[in-house]
């Protein structure tokens, strides 16, 4: 009984896409539930940003066992960047990492990301989508900083929700002038 690779891979591919779609839909369904419970005065932006903050912090904690300084700050920054890359790739994004010209500077590019489309589909603003992502990344990083006593920062230079075509973020160590 030979395995038909095309059939196996296409089945898995469909399952992965379905799972990614379901994750995004679930987020917005939970957001809707919170809005309904919170009442008419609730600001969706507050709820969303708060939720992404919790998720970011928790994911940061989950990744602590993989974070270390054995290869110095540069190695740690690459650990963090790869963690972001892995987390977003699992969600259906395409993410690249490039070293910057300065030491201890990395540029992370989201060449494609399904989250802004999902936000649109569920009636969320692009501002909310962008701030949600920024909060997630920052809270994740804060957890790592607290763990290792570092002071890494991340800043958003371009974003898909702002119409830039890609999200471009700079991960850096401000202590390196």
């Amino acid at each position: 009984m030979a395995v038909d690779p095309e059939k196996e891979i296409s089945g898995l591919w469909r399952a992965l896409q379905g799972s990614q779609e379901s994750t995004r839909r679930t987020f917005y369904q939970m957001r809707q539930a919170l809005l309904e419970v919170a009442g008419p005065d609730a600001d969706p932006l507050d709820i969303s940003v708060r939720a992404w903050g919790i998720i970011g912090k928790d994911m940061g904690k989950a990744y602590l066992p993989r974070m270390n300084l054995l290869k110095g700050i540069e190695g740690l920054m690459m650990n963090v960047a790869r963690a972001y890359q892995g987390l977003w790739t699992t969600n259906g994004a395409v993410v690249d990492i490039e070293k910057g010209q300065k030491p201890n500077e990395l540029f992370i590019t989201w060449k494609r990301c399904p989250w802004p489309t999902s936000a649109k589909e569920h009636g969320a603003s692009m501002k909310e989508d962008l701030q949600g992502c920024d909060t997630y990344l920052r809270e994740f990083l804060e957890e790592v900083n607290a763990f290792l006593g570092t002071n890494l920062k991340i800043e958003t230079l371009k974003s898909i929700p702002s119409g830039d075509g890609v999200c471009l973020r700079r991960l850096y160590n401000p202590e390196d002038k």
């Binding site: 009984m1 395995v3 690779p5 196996e8 089945g11 898995l12 399952a15 904690k61 989950a62 602590l64 066992p65 270390n68 300084l69 054995l70 957890e143 607290a146 763990f147 290792l148 006593g149």
Partner: protein, 660 residues
């Protein structure tokens, strides 16, 4: 010469001749300890959840006190605060109020009854504490690497002052209870170590900064406790190497400064340790060769004038004896070897080393503690049941002729226990060698050779108790009918199960036993069928030979039968040796080219393989019918009953041995 609590004369004992350095006295402060043996403070979760000492805790410690033959027996570390932020284990003993003194007195008395020196320990668990509270305390709010711990709250100066006071008050209670030696624990992530480490102490006040600043809390603690101790010697446990270089922990040089400062502050003995609970490096599991950490004790000796003690993979008396002779160590500490065999040093003294049940360094004892369960031991069925008469080996009311089929760990354990009770015991095995599947299992890499120690121990005990071996004898229905014993114990081991998929009868399908014994031809690409310990062991055995190995198993998680405190080692080694694992999967077909793996949800993965190794096991009902048909009392134990692990085999064997 300091104060001597109990007279001991070891001169007539064979162990004192063989290991003279272990059985000579040593002075700690003003106290003379008759030998160089210390049972290290060990949490056991045997106390009430309210911190009160229990009968089981007293019985547990009393047995260890007997074992140290006059040496130092230390009770577990006590927590010191009513808010329970310093409590790291649900069954940890408490000393934050006078109401605990009667229970603590029972422990000190139990040690003294055995003419041993009673030690106690102060243990605020710091960032790994607050097991029953909402947050724990530390010098800085640095999150732990592991999720299981509570959030850390930074201690204020008032908190620090209060904590010092609690150390002092607890010491007063412990001294009232009658303890002869006090130790402060500053290791593995507990509070004192949190202050010392650059990883967890980021304070900018006088309790932080450089190593001298970070040691300030420890120094103050030593000085305050010392004032209360008076003539009672004071020890401390500190890390010689934190093994936290990946998170900017202390350097070994800084650790030695902490040792020097502790001595200067007034401690009388230093207990040398390595690693933290959050370290990514293994320290005490059996993949670490015995004696690996002795260089740390030697280094400590170079920095100190006070005596130095150490545990950490010193499981046999020759190692510490030699180290003491060479001036690298002063006191042999033990924890796990005396969990496995509480009388271990006593047996050394009496020249009965072969009768020591050796610890297999599996860390199930620790795994239990971290899961809020009472202490147990993988290979000592009596551990934590010392209080329970049901676990005693008592003479049989009616002696029987017992036939045990299978000379593996279950059969041998049952045999010696039954024989010691007075039964006439015959052990049969079709092989010419004792050990059953442990013969092969002990050939797996990363320290599994130590598993065979259980067979050596059981063989000695069988021989001592007159068990008759019938090796090279296959037990058939005819043998049973001819012998007609009163009881039959089937300890025949498991059957290796073939799946129902096409190809399981192919020539390239071999058993784990054939592979580990070297009798099977194994190609370069191997699929191991079964994701429990036998599968992991053989996968590593083959991967270390350079073969490409894939483990496929039905269990949802790898190594379901391996305790979590050891499983992380195997997971690391599998990754290191590039072994692929497919859990929650089945085999659809085996061919000459390979194997089709099918996931739980029906996806199929082709895996190239020239050899397929069976490790999946099932119960072995062989001979059951014939025993029952002849009206003979029947017991089935070990993997023959339900395939599990060495621990279950030994525990089954013991339990049936005391019941027959």
């Amino acid at each position: 010469m300091g104060k001597l609590l109990f007279e001991w004369d070891y001169s007539s004992y064979p162990g004192a001749q063989k290991y003279p350095h272990l059985f000579k006295s040593i002075q700690l402060g003003n106290l003379t300890i008759p030998n160089r043996i210390k049972y290290a403070a060990t949490e056991d979760n045997l106390n009430g959840r309210d911190g009160f000492v229990t009968d089981s805790g007293v019985a547990y410690l009393k047995e260890r006190a007997k074992g140290v033959v006059g040496g130092l027996c230390t009770m577990q570390g006590v927590y010191l605060d009513e808010a329970r932020r310093g409590q790291g284990y649900v069954g940890q003993a408490a000393a934050w109020d006078d109401k605990f003194i009667p229970g603590l007195t029972r422990l000190a008395d139990a040690i003294h009854e055995q003419k041993a020196v009673a030690g106690c320990q102060l243990m605020h668990c710091g960032r790994v504490g607050a097991i029953e509270a909402d947050y724990c305390q530390g010098p800085s709010p640095v999150p732990q690497r592991l999720r299981i711990f509570r959030p850390v709250q930074e201690m204020t100066k008032a908190d620090i002052k209060q904590c010092l006071k609690e150390h002092v008050e607890a010491t007063e209670r412990l001294l009232k209870a009658g303890f002869d030696f006090v130790e402060i624990s500053g290791i593995v992530g507990y509070l004192l170590s949190n202050f010392v480490s650059s990883y967890t102490n980021r304070r900018s006040d006088e309790y932080g900064g450089d190593i001298r600043g970070r040691m300030r809390f420890v120094v103050e603690c030593i000085q305050e406790v010392k004032k209360v101790c008076g003539d009672v010697p004071l020890g401390i446990r500190l890390c010689a190497e934190e093994l936290l270089d990946d998170v900017s922990g202390n350097t070994p040089e800084e650790s030695m400064i902490t040792y020097e400062m502790a001595e200067e502050a007034g401690v009388d003995v230093m207990s040398v340790t390595a690693g933290w609970q959050e370290s990514i490096y293994p320290v005490i599991s059996r993949d670490i060769p015995m004696g690996s950490w002795l260089h740390l004790a030697e280094r400590a000796k170079q920095h100190l004038t006070i005596p130095v003690s150490m545990a950490y993979r010193l499981f046999t008396p020759d190692l510490p004896n030699k180290a003491i002779e060479e001036g690298k160590l002063d006191i042999w500490e033990m924890c796990r070897p005396m969990i496995a065999d509480p009388l271990m040093p006593k047996k050394v003294l009496e020249g009965k080393e072969e009768e020591i049940r050796p610890c297999v360094a599996c860390n199930v004892c620790l795994a239990r503690l971290f899961r809020d369960a009472p202490m147990t031991c993988y290979i000592n069925p009596v551990c934590a049941h010392e209080w329970d008469p049901k676990y005693e080996i008592k003479p049989a009311e009616m002696t029987k002729n017992v036939m045990i089929v299978g000379a593996g760990p279950a059969g041998l354990e049952c045999a010696w226990v039954a024989a010691e009770r007075g039964h006439e015991v015959h052990v049969y095995d079709k092989r010419q060698e004792l050990g059953g599947t442990i013969i092969e299992a002990s050939k797996a890499p990363y320290g599994d050779d130590e598993l065979y120690g259980q067979i050596r121990f059981a063989k000695t005990m069988c021989e001592k108790n007159g068990v008759e071996f019938h090796l090279g004898t296959e037990v058939t229905p005819e043998v049973i009918e001819e012998e007609l014993p009163d009881s039959v114990v089937l300890a025949t081991g498991p059957r290796y199960s073939k799946g129902t998929a096409p190809g399981f009868d192919r020539q390239n399908v071999v058993s784990v036993l054939e592979v580990l014994s070297g009798t099977a031809q194994v190609g370069d690409n191997v699929v191991v069928w079964g994701n429990m310990k036998p599968g992991i062991g053989v996968a590593l055995f083959l991967a270390k030979q350079g073969k490409r190995v894939t483990v496929v198993g039905r269990e949802k998680k790898l190594g379901k039968d391996v305790n979590p405190s050891f499983l992380w080692r195997y997971v690391g080694y599998l990754r290191q040796n590039k072994v692929t694992t497919y859990n929650d999967c089945d085999i659809e077909e085996i061919t000459d080219e390979g194997v089709t793996v099918v996931t739980y949800d029906g996806h199929r993965i082709p895996v190239k393989a020239d050899t397929f190794v069976l490790t999946e096991r099932e119960a072995n009902p062989a001979l059951k019918d014939v025993v029952q048909e002849n009206g003979i009392e029947l017991f089935v134990i070990g993997d023959a009953l339900v395939p599990r692990n060495l621990s279950s085999a030994v525990h089954d064997g013991y339990r049936i041995g005391i019941r027959i």
